[in-house]
């Protein structure tokens, strides 16, 4: 019984969340907050894409900013140099990132653990180096300028509110898709790979193929976030491709909770807003961010979503077995999230 309750409650909460996101721009708030919210949604999509690899497949990548940034460059270059429309350049960006992630994945997925991490950094640095030194195309360290405002069939999304809705729409579509993927047999296989890839191999699963496809999906979601980002800022620079951006997204996943569906989005909300709001008060904001990261890792290594879930479990379910089970192994945690 409590399982059904939980499920419907979750649906209500999600519907409410979407409703709030739709209503916010209609309230009399400064356009700055709508822009900030757009940025949060973009990074949420990027972090959710990374989470498919880190949280569900067990492959920690520090090269996702390369997928994010290179797709942003691809769409941006087509828009600024060749005058392609928003839809055309976006479509080209998606094809580009599928090919790129497919190519990188063939090599990267062969490795595991620390080696996987190192290879992903190496790929990221290649893209970063290209963006920095191929200045005739990317604008070099000056960054790429001249990306037009997005327009669909003649309607120009010049105001931040109208573009915000595009971002929201894309995010909802991608989240739904991701949700279906994670809950499919394919998604469950990925989690099996995360827990014990040798056993999955002996059970007859093609571990390499599964991981490779997960790598491509993950890269593509990051790439889509990159396209949204290019049109959001009308500007792309090499720092968007750098390993620092990759690390920031990784922090979003870890702070929110790797292997939980909404964790990375929560991480994006917290990190992007803190970064922008704290720095208005003090020059020492980098230090404060560092302390927050340490606190989260010390006290809630499984991420904030797990923390909320546990306290929720204590208050409402009064010791419901699966939710308040802090000491469960990672597989158990992963499963309970997916099912509930």
């Amino acid at each position: 019984m409590p399982a059904i309750n939980n499920n419907s409650l979750k649906k209500i909460l999600i519907a409410l969340g979407i409703l709030v996101l739709i209503i916010i721009p209609q309230l009399p708030v400064s356009s700055y907050y709508i822009n900030l919210l757009s940025l949060i949604l973009i990074f949420a999509l990027l972090a959710m894409g990374l989470n498919l690899l880190v949280g569900y497949t067990g492959l920690s990548s520090l090269g996702h900013a390369a997928f994010f940034g290179s797709t942003a460059y691809c769409a941006g270059i087509l828009s600024s140099h060749y005058g392609w429309s928003f839809l055309a350049s976006s479509a080209a960006g998606v094809i580009f990132i599928i090919l790129l992630a497919g190519g990188f994945g063939l090599i990267n997925v062969r490795s595991k653990g620390v080696t996987f991490l190192m290879v992903s950094i190496a790929f990221g640095q290649i893209i970063w180096g290209l963006s920095q030194s191929w200045s005739a195309v990317t604008g070099g360290a000056n960054g790429l300028v001249g990306i037009s405002d997005p327009s669909i069939f003649g309607y120009v999304f010049a105001s931040c509110t109208s573009y915000y809705y595009i971002i929201l729409f894309v995010l909802i579509c991608c989240s739904y898709l991701l949700y279906r993927i994670i809950n499919s047999s394919f998604g469950l296989t990925l989690q099996g790979i995360k827990d014990n890839s040798k056993r999955m191999t002996s059970l007859g699963y093609n571990v390499f193929l599964h991981s490779w496809i997960a790598y491509i999906i993950s890269g593509t979601l990051s790439g889509i976030a990159g396209i949204l980002y290019a049109y959001y800022n009308n500007f792309v620079s090499p720092t968007d491709v750098s390993v620092i951006t990759s690390a920031k997204v990784m922090m979003m996943v870890l702070v929110g909770g790797a292997g939980t569906f909404f964790g990375p989005a929560l991480g994006a909300i917290i990190i992007v807003s803190l970064e922008n709001l704290l720095s208005a008060f003090t020059n020492r904001w980098v230090l404060i961010m560092g302390i927050i990261y340490i606190l989260v890792v010390m006290f809630t290594p499984a991420g904030l979503v797990e923390l909320i879930k546990n306290s929720y479990g204590k208050v409402f379910s009064k010791g419901d077995d699966s939710n308040s089970n802090k000491g469960g192994d990672s597989r158990e945690r992963g499963r309970s999230t997916v099912k509930s």
Binding site: A141, F235, S279, V296
Partner: protein, 405 residues
């Protein structure tokens, strides 16, 4: 653990609310510069220049009370853009001032142009902001990268007699524009730039780049800044290049933000810029004294740049009362003589200063390194001696233009 979440929530709510409070009728300046990261030393010099001018003038410009909001860009163009947006849309500042790097400047200027937000560019020297990408909303009080280098080419040709030069500088707009500005004029006079070498920002070891210098050049022209300049100068001497090829450069190579950290390797380097802390005029001596007293270090061109940008704002506000009518404001500053530690100057119709360029030589005076002024070229425009419309038909100075033949 729960407390942590609550704490975070409170923090966020507080920060959200603070944005809603705003004072009326004061003139708001949103200032952005890198206060953390690699370029924080330059960024702090920029901030302190602004603070010195405002405190000297009781926080009033053109008779209006001034509120200053400072934001950190981390030396990252996307952060600079996010902060510029925040200042314009949330804090509703009247003008955005700063940042440091060309990449940030391009991003902020594009935002300013598209959204009609006045942008006071006091340091970013990317040529095109006041040339091919000119906008009424971009007001530059600093310089263009090629501005000191074009007359410097002539000065070097006439006074030092060099005919064959190799260049080594940053591989981004700032490096490209300074070197190529020199290159263009130098070759027009009959000199020859035989090789241009481009190490990236943050190069730890310059040996592989120095090895590319051709053995038959008369001198080497360089441009770096910050810790890169320090490392470059050290290695240039260590590898014995200083004895073989005299070093000349753009002024930032030996700028005062880094000069006190240099040693004998800097002595004798000749460079060109629109400022030197060692300019011996009453107005600069006074500025130098006040700045050193207040902050305990020598003013750099960054400090002077932002200090003087406040003076320009002061003059404009006195004439126009505000900046909402941008044309009235521009009329108030264009062509007017502006008093400054760097020497009096005026702003041209492309919103860039026409100013003195100083030829400086590093010397040790009273056990301290300084950029002694050895010559001065008065009233140099960003177009040098060329006709502006002819000049603008050329492509912007870059890595490829003019080409090395």
């Amino acid at each position: 653990m729960k407390k942590l979440v609550i704490l975070l929530c409170i923090l966020m709510v507080i920060s959200l609310m603070s944005g809603l409070v705003s004072a009326a009728e004061t003139f708001k300046i949103g200032f952005i510069s890198p206060l953390t990261g690699t370029f924080s030393a330059n960024g702090m010099d920029m901030r302190d220049g602004v603070l010195l001018y405002l405190s000297e003038h009781n926080w009033k410009l053109g008779g209006r009370d001034v509120e200053l909001i400072v934001e950190d860009t981390e030396g990252d163009p996307k952060t600079a853009l996010t902060k510029a947006r925040k200042l314009a849309e949330l804090d509703k500042v009247d003008i955005i001032a700063g940042p440091l790097l060309a990449s940030s400047g391009y991003a902020v200027a594009e935002y300013a142009r598209n959204n009609k937000v006045p942008y006071l560019d006091n340091i970013v020297s990317a040529d095109d902001l006041t040339q091919r990408l000119y906008s009424d909303y971009v007001i530059r009080t600093g310089w263009t990268s090629s501005q000191p280098m074009q007359p410097f080419a002539k000065w070097v040709y006439d006074n030092l007699g060099y005919r064959k030069v190799a260049t080594i500088a940053y591989d981004f707009a700032f490096g490209h524009e300074t070197m190529s500005g020199f290159h263009y004029v130098f070759e027009e006079l009959g000199g020859d730039v035989v090789k241009k070498i481009w190490p990236p920002i943050g190069t730890a070891d310059y040996a592989p780049y120095l090895a590319q210098i051709p053995p038959d050049v008369d001198a080497v022209l360089a441009n770096f800044s910050g810790s890169d300049a320090l490392r470059f100068m050290k290695q240039y001497q260590q590898f014995g290049f200083k004895k073989r090829f005299p070093l000349i450069g753009c002024g930032t190579l030996t700028d005062e933000h880094i000069l006190p950290s240099m040693g004998d390797e800097a002595i004798g380097v000749i460079s060109a810029l629109h400022y030197s802390a060692a300019i011996d005029t009453p107005i600069n001596n006074e500025f130098y004294q006040k700045y050193t007293q207040r902050y305990g270090r020598i003013p750099s061109y960054y400090s002077e740049g932002t200090y003087t940008s406040m003076r320009v704002l002061d003059v404009g506000l006195q004439a126009a009362g505000g900046i909402d009518d941008i044309m009235a404001f521009l009329n108030g500053i264009q062509g007017k003589e502006i008093k400054a530690p760097r020497g009096n100057f005026y702003i041209d119709h492309y919103n860039n200063p026409v100013q003195n360029i100083y030829i400086r030589k590093v010397e040790r005076v009273n056990d301290q390194l300084q950029n002694t002024v050895i010559d001065m070229i008065p009233e140099v425009s960003q177009f040098y001696n060329y006709d502006p419309s002819e000049f603008l038909k050329k492509p912007v100075y870059s890595r490829e233009f003019p080409p090395v033949d």
